[in-house]
């Protein structure tokens, strides 16, 4: 393999797209999760939970636009193939995202009597969007297989991802609140962790058998040895977090952010495993990143913008999270 621009550019963009998806899943994961937890929260708690994500969700969702945008502009062939194959799930995802996005604002602005309706819509939109994302991931993992087997696997991943998002949401509530709600969130986290662990185990077992290609990538010597830290580390983090839930919240609110960071770590490990399973394909078994990429000079133009803007985005994301750090109780979403 030679390292010239036509070789390197698609790799760089695949990396950037992966980064955008990972950031999206972690960031929008917690606010989608809070939407899912709406089902088990009471009225006053719901207001606090919204306040905990209000300043962030617009920017969080923008990472999805960046990820899909990078797929669109850097790998236009793949964008067409993937999204036409996933036409209906994409549509369901979009309806979910639309419903929850507008519910944020409507629930705070409509007359008090209609607020319940928008709370329900917020929950529905969040769960629909989460399930649709999981389903799309499952179908994609199996190489865009939309037969009965692919659909069943998609459904399994959908439930697993929804549980994982709920865990993220609960971890975020632990970080952003105190008192009764925080204690409640610890119990939510425990339940969601069990469901997530079950789902992840099922998905991990099913994937190699559902896809011989992925089986071949994982179960060969010596790759198996290099890859073994991924599942082992994930399992250890799970167990550690599970034990932690029995000691939270701690005095002086120490370690309130730890569950969230631990979950983010598990997401990163899982994502790395997925990335390894696919590389170098952007459409499994059909298009490699080099076959699907735009012209090198067009990618170069985009890269200039990315190199300038991405550090700024990351810098002010940190700034915004710092400005809105601390407990969410004194913030109102109006």
């Amino acid at each position: 393999m030679t390292y010239d621009w036509p070789t390197a550019m698609p790799l760089i963009f695949a990396g950037l797209m992966g980064l955008a998806i990972l950031i999206y899943v972690i960031l929008d994961g917690f606010d989608l999760g809070i939407g899912i937890l709406f089902a088990v929260a009471e009225d006053a708690e719901q207001d606090t939970m919204i306040a905990a994500i209000g300043p962030f969700w617009d920017a969080n969702e923008t990472w999805l636009v960046l990820a899909v945008g990078l797929l669109l502009v850097a790998f236009p062939l793949a964008h067409g193939v993937i999204l036409t194959a996933l036409y209906i799930p994409v549509f369901v995802l979009l309806v979910g995202l639309i419903l929850r996005g507008v519910a944020f604002d409507f629930r705070a602005k409509v007359p008090a009597g209609k607020k319940h309706r928008w709370n329900r819509i917020f929950f529905l939109g969040s769960i629909i969007a989460s399930l649709a994302q999981g389903y799309m991931l499952g179908v994609y993992v199996l190489g865009l297989d939309i037969g009965p087997g692919g659909m069943a696997f998609g459904a399994l991943v959908a439930l697993c991802l929804a549980a994982a998002y709920a865990a993220m949401g609960a971890a975020w509530v632990i970080y952003k609140t105190d008192g009764e709600l925080q204690k409640k969130a610890v119990r939510w986290l425990r339940t969601a962790l069990v469901l997530t662990a079950l789902g992840m185990a099922a998905v991990s077992l099913a994937t190699p058998f559902a896809s011989p290609r992925i089986f071949d990538k994982w179960f060969v010597w010596p790759e198996m040895l290099y890859l073994s830290p991924l599942p082992i580390l994930s399992a250890l983090l799970f167990l550690w977090l599970w034990r932690q839930t029995f000691h939270l919240p701690k005095p002086d609110d120490r370690g309130a952010l730890t569950p969230f960071l631990t979950l983010a770590g598990i997401f990163v490990l899982g994502f790395a495993g997925l990335a390894w399973s696919f590389y170098p394909y952007v459409v499994p078994d059909r298009l490699t990143i080099w076959q699907a990429a735009s012209a090198t000079e067009s990618l170069a133009i985009i890269l200039v913008g990315v190199v300038v803007v991405l550090p700024i985005i990351i810098f002010y994301s940190f700034y915004a999270y710092r400005v809105f750090g601390g407990k969410a109780t004194d913030l109102t979403y109006d």
């Binding site: 960046l66 067409g80 996005g101 979403y333």
Partner: protein, 453 residues
């Protein structure tokens, strides 16, 4: 029905619903900045009350814009995969810059703008307002650049059937881009000023005579009265630019079937494409020649010069007339309202009642204008390079029809909810008047009103 026309309807429905909200946020960001700067300068709390009322509208419109914008980024792939395959090397970077420089700027600083009053200094908060307003405008810049390039492509070459960029300056500042950008930014300004004037008129009719109502009303009416003549001039220049670069679109807009001098200005007609003729035509003799060529004997292009290569006449002809008609109505309403506000310091009831439905006149004109220019581009998706029919994806017509139906139901419901909330916010503000508790004092002077206030 075939997937092509269904896909076009779906894309049209999605982008029409989307454009309603950026049209508001582009200019409303600057209006909010104006309110804020007036408050900073005068210390008059009525300016801040106006800010608080309208920042809610901004937040709601922005959220609607974000979620419908997410839909747009998927629609290219789901419905028009041929588009990016053919011109992705040019459309890609323009879209990427739209997302990078603008979308993030808005979305990230919106949080500080909406919730940051208590947490950042007044200066940072004003800066966030500037960045959000600037972000929406830069966003519009890139999208208009791409759209204009599809209308009047420049600065590229075809290699193996795929467009490659040669000159980025020529691509971005293609022949129709400056005209379209100015026309759209002014349209946004007019949409917002009529929205503000209309909802303030509603407050006026509900008996509200508070300072914050007057301030918003005057801002809306005077901005509209200033912008509308500029817009009419800019629109005329845009039309002349179209005549030069896309004459077949002008021929369809004027429903002019035969090239020649002394072409009349058709005021009303039912264009009949099969007979190549207009039914029930009412026209001003030599009018079109006079407007387009500044001479009664000026030659105006006709549809006969573009057999099989011109847009459908009926929607383009009527889209244009609805836009111009709405614009003239805007001129009449905003100038009479400005007259009464300036000379009589009051607003006659009938005029106020007319201004309330005119709150959405900007939407009507903007949509009609976009339909004119986008349908006017047909049968091309990118003029001379890619036909719309060649870009459509392999999705079954039934899937497109089903999703289209659900989108439409969803959009109608959301639109009702959105307008309902606007009315609710206006009436609530009318009831509170100047007695609405100003959020926070001392160190929290600029904080958001708490829920329930």
């Amino acid at each position: 029905m075939d997937p092509l026309i269904l896909s076009r309807m779906q894309f049209g429905a999605n982008i029409s619903f989307h454009i309603l909200f950026p049209t508001i946020t582009i200019a409303l960001g600057w209006v909010l900045l104006f309110f804020k700067l007036r408050y900073n300068a005068t210390n008059d709390s009525a300016w801040m009350r106006a800010y608080f009322t309208w920042v809610k509208v901004f937040a709601l419109s922005f959220a609607m814009g974000v979620v419908t914008g997410v839909t747009m980024s998927f629609q290219f792939g789901t419905n028009w995969p041929g588009y990016m395959q053919k011109v992705g090397n040019i459309a890609g970077p323009l879209l990427a810059y739209e997302i990078l420089t603008a979308f993030f700027l808005e979305a990230a600083f919106l949080g500080i703008m909406l919730f940051g009053f208590r947490r950042v200094s007044n200066r940072i908060h004003t800066l966030a307002t500037v960045l959000v307003a600037g972000g929406t405008t830069v966003s519009a810049f890139w999208i208009i650049a791409l759209n204009s390039w599809m209308q009047t492509p420049a600065g590229f070459e075809m290699r193996d059937g795929v467009a490659h960029a040669v000159d980025w300056w020529a691509i971005v500042f293609n022949p129709s881009m400056p005209y379209r950008l100015v026309h759209m930014l002014l349209a946004s300004g007019l949409t917002v000023s009529f929205l503000i004037a209309g909802l303030s008129a509603l407050r006026y009719l509900a008996g509200d005579r508070s300072e914050s109502m007057w301030k918003a009303l005057r801002t809306g009416v005077f901005t509209a009265a200033i912008l509308i003549p500029i817009q009419i001039f800019a629109g005329d220049q845009h039309g002349l630019n179209t005549l030069e670069h896309q004459p077949q679109k002008i021929a369809a807009m004027e429903a002019n079937w035969n090239t020649g001098p002394n072409v009349p200005l058709v005021l009303f007609a039912l264009p009949d494409e099969a007979a190549k003729d207009n039914k029930f035509e009412i026209a001003i003799p030599d009018g079109a020649s006079l407007i387009l060529r500044h001479s009664t004997s000026g030659v105006v292009p006709g549809l006969n010069d573009y057999p099989g290569n011109h847009p459908p006449v009926f929607p383009v002809f009527w889209g244009f007339r609805i836009m111009v008609g709405t614009g003239l109505l805007m001129l009449a309403v905003s100038w009479s309202a400005a007259f009464f506000l300036k000379r009589r310091h009051s607003l006659p009831r009938p005029l106020a009642m007319l201004m309330v439905p005119m709150a959405i006149s900007g939407w009507v004109a903007t949509l009609a204008g976009w339909y004119t220019t986008e349908i006017g581009r047909q049968p091309w998706l990118v003029t001379g390079i890619l036909k719309t029919a060649d870009a459509v994806g392999p999705v079954a017509g039934s899937h497109v029809a089903l999703t289209l139906a659900i989108y439409l139901v969803l959009y109608v419901l959301l639109l009702i909810a959105y307008l309902g909330v606007l009315v609710h916010l206006a009436l609530k503000a009318a009831k509170d008047g100047d007695s609405s508790p100003l959020p926070g004092v001392m160190n929290a002077a600029l904080s958001q009103p708490a829920a329930g206030e």
